[in-house]
């Protein structure tokens, strides 16, 4: 067989064909890059040797309802199958890389008229190996703790899996159910549909209210601190910024304790002041508790916006104020026509960012109310009056073990929020200033 290559590019077919037949083949026979070719070939050999177990794992995942004594539980089969799929995907990527590398080596050969010497290509390889070495830890972590869990959640959404261990016995096998879980959420099952509608509406109201109250609260405080120019302003500022430095899980728990309907100090204080005669059911009334959630969130969230808006106000250049003064604007006009629009313009993107944050603000609800109080469908769906989608997902998966329902909701949250999040990120400095 003639292993010499033509320089005019006409041997491209040979190179491409051999590269496609076996990883590294063209590197060895045509391009004389033996070490590189050997590494590629080794990858393929390892892959071929392991492929039976790999495909068994994938098959076990697909035939998840099959059961026999000694087989690993369904969740292990799912995760193994997904990992096997990931390994397969990585192998395919490596294959593509090897083919591309062979073609680019051949193009270099056509340009330079000679095959790169072993030494030259090895020097290049060491330089090229550094990225591989550098990315491996991050890559492995992301695959195992981000990508695999993601796929796992998606896959569970299409099963009827709602118990941890029940399905390792033959009685109630896990099986694929297609889009049944989605259908149940959207009209198929009335209690789930109504619970989903209720929770989704409250989640959006909560996200909007929590953001608006914190933003305007922060705006008012920042304005007062900035405009009033009191001698004690620094003291006020130090006090008002305090909640930002305290871990919010602690403060939320303290509020929960203080707001307790029968023993809480807030009711006691209001009674002592003769403002109320009966205890206010802060945490147990379906309507009051929603205001309580938003109010407590204000305590936690206002300082952040106050800090931010103060920063923006002090950043406005003095020239603008001077110009306004020369034009004869009074203080109120200066504030409403200059300070306010500038600050709003600068911080507006943060409102959307904060909205997406609040939609997923697990701690603010879970540690305050735990999703309670209960409503009529809580027993069957476990969604309480103040549950957000995210806390409901948590309850469904970690407490109720209804994984399939939980992952349907998780997918919905992801699909709705992804565009917001991408938009957010594209507006950050680090994205705009960095090159891809």
């Amino acid at each position: 067989m003639n292993t010499s290559l033509k320089m005019d590019g006409s041997s491209k077919k040979q190179v491409l064909l051999s590269a496609c037949i076996f990883m590294g083949l063209s590197h060895i026979i045509y391009l004389k890059q033996y070490i590189k070719g050997a590494i590629f070939a080794l990858i393929e050999i390892i892959m071929i040797v392991n492929s039976p177990s790999l495909f068994t794992k994938i098959k076990d995942m697909i035939e998840i309802s099959r059961w026999w004594k000694g087989i690993s539980p369904a969740y292990f089969r799912l995760i193994d199958g997904i990992i096997a799929l990931c390994v397969l995907a990585i192998f395919i990527v490596a294959y593509v890389v090897s083919i591309k590398s062979a073609v680019s080596s051949y193009n270099d050969f056509c340009l330079e008229g000679r095959v790169k010497s072993q030494k030259e290509s090895m020097q290049g390889a060491v330089g090229k190996a550094f990225p591989i070495f550098g990315l491996t830890p991050a890559f492995i972590l992301i695959v195992f703790f981000v990508i695999v869990p993601l796929l796992f959640s998606v896959v569970t959404g299409f099963t009827n899996w709602d118990e941890m261990d029940g399905h390792s016995s033959p009685g109630a096998p896990v099986n694929w159910v297609g889009f049944k879980n989605f259908a149940d959420m959207f009209g198929g099952d009335s209690s789930w549909t109504s619970a989903f509608g209720r929770v989704a509406v409250w989640t959006v109201i909560w996200g909007a209210m929590a953001t608006i109250t914190c933003y305007f609260g922060g705006m008012v405080l920042a304005t007062l601190l900035y405009e009033a120019k009191l001698k004690v302003t620094p003291v006020f500022r130090a006090i008002l910024i305090l909640p930002y430095a305290i871990p919010s899980i602690l403060t939320v728990k303290v509020w929960q304790y203080m707001l307790n309907g029968s023993t809480g100090v807030i009711n006691n204080a209001l009674k002592d002041l003769h403002l109320i005669s009966e205890s206010v059911p802060w945490m147990t009334d379906k309507t009051i508790v929603k205001f309580v959630c938003i109010g407590v969130n204000m305590w936690v969230g206002i300082p952040y916006f106050m800090l931010l808006i103060t920063g923006q106000m002090t950043a406005i250049s003095a020239d603008i104020y001077e110009a306004a003064e020369i034009d004869g604007a009074n203080k109120l006009q200066v504030f409403s026509n200059i300070t306010l629009p500038l600050v709003i313009y600068q911080t507006a993107p943060l409102i959307i960012m904060s909205f997406t944050h609040n939609i997923n603000n697990f701690g603010a609800i879970y540690f305050l109310t735990g999703g309670d109080p209960k409503v009529t469908d809580t027993t069957s769906t476990s969604a309480g009056a103040t549950d957000l989608l995210i806390t409901w997902i948590y309850k469904l998966t970690m407490d109720q073990k209804r994984y399939c329902r939980g992952s349907v909701l998780a997918m919905l949250v992801f699909i709705v929020l992804a565009p917001f999040a991408i938009w957010n990120f594209k507006n950050t400095k680090s994205y705009k200033e960095g090159e891809l």
Partner: protein
């Protein structure tokens, strides 16, 4: 005259509003501090006036000698240190590679990371739990370190990479001419230049795990592997009614946080600025 009066009124209104806001801010804080120093045995605090029950340090005594507080503290400290070190090491190295090398699928990988960091990580929590079971990391502190590090990588790599992009490449070239290899350039040239961002990353990845509740709850099972957040919440969860102990622990945890917040303010501003919306 009129403007003077109106200015006075504005001033008084401001003071009134700020005083009310300060009172509302301070009250829960004072309430917790007074509960932490309450002389009562662990029970319900019902008096709305702080310190009306008197003053003692018995809660702290109970916390240190009758509960596993020191044990929780040690576990949390180990997790926080582990997550801090591994996050800084992996994120800076990855960011360096993305900033200085050209390779296949680079753009795709960067975009993938951008999209992955959107996904609220604990939505896939059950799957993470299964992965943890699969690699025998259940009830192990290092399992948590892995989870936190993996969660930190996508976003922080972007953050650091964009910072590294601003460091002139001529510095690398100079070092290369002097015979330094990639690793040396990374450690001796790039890392010192990126110090402000590395400090920010260190602080955020260290403080992150302190008050995280969900992952430890899912991953750690045994009594001796509890963290601060788990332990403190357990004081007041369900039937346990040990609010004074919780308060004492909360005060102990919050003080270092506030100190760190004050000390780290300048580097926090750098990092938050880089992550914040463009101006």
């Amino acid at each position: 005259m009129g403007t003077k009066n109106s200015r006075l009124i504005i001033k008084i209104v401001s003071i009134v509003i700020l005083t009310i806001a300060s009172f509302l801010t301070l009250y829960p804080v004072l309430f917790v501090i007074s509960a932490a120093f309450s002389p009562l045995p662990t029970s319900v605090i019902s008096s709305p006036i702080p310190f009306s029950d008197g003053f003692s340090t018995r809660q702290f005594n109970d916390l240190f000698f009758d509960s596993n507080f020191t044990n929780w503290f040690r576990n949390t400290f180990i997790i926080a240190c582990g997550s801090c070190v591994s996050t800084v090491a992996i994120c800076t190295l990855t960011a360096y590679v993305f900033s200085r090398f050209k390779f296949m699928f680079k753009k795709g990988m960067m975009m993938a990371m951008l999209i992955l960091q959107i996904f609220p990580s604990f939505v896939g929590m059950f799957a993470i739990y299964v992965v943890i079971l699969r690699i025998d990391a259940y009830d192990q502190l290092w399992g948590l370190v892995l989870i936190y590090t993996a969660g930190n990588v996508p976003y922080n790599t972007w953050l650091i990479k964009s910072y590294l992009d601003t460091i002139p490449k001529s510095l690398d070239e100079a070092a290369r001419i002097d015979g330094a290899n990639h690793l040396k350039i990374f450690l001796r040239v790039i890392m010192p230049m990126a110090k402000p961002m590395v400090v920010f990353l260190g602080i955020t990845s260290f403080t992150g795990p302190w008050m995280d509740y969900i992952y430890p709850k899912v991953i750690l099972g045994s009594d001796e592997k509890q963290t601060l957040a788990l332990g403190l919440i357990k004081f007041i969860d369900g039937t346990a009614n040990k609010f004074t102990l919780f308060a004492a622990g909360a005060v102990l945890v919050s003080v270092p946080f506030i100190i760190l917040f004050v000390l780290g303010q300048s580097s926090m501003v750098t990092g938050l600025g880089a992550g914040a919306v463009k101006e």
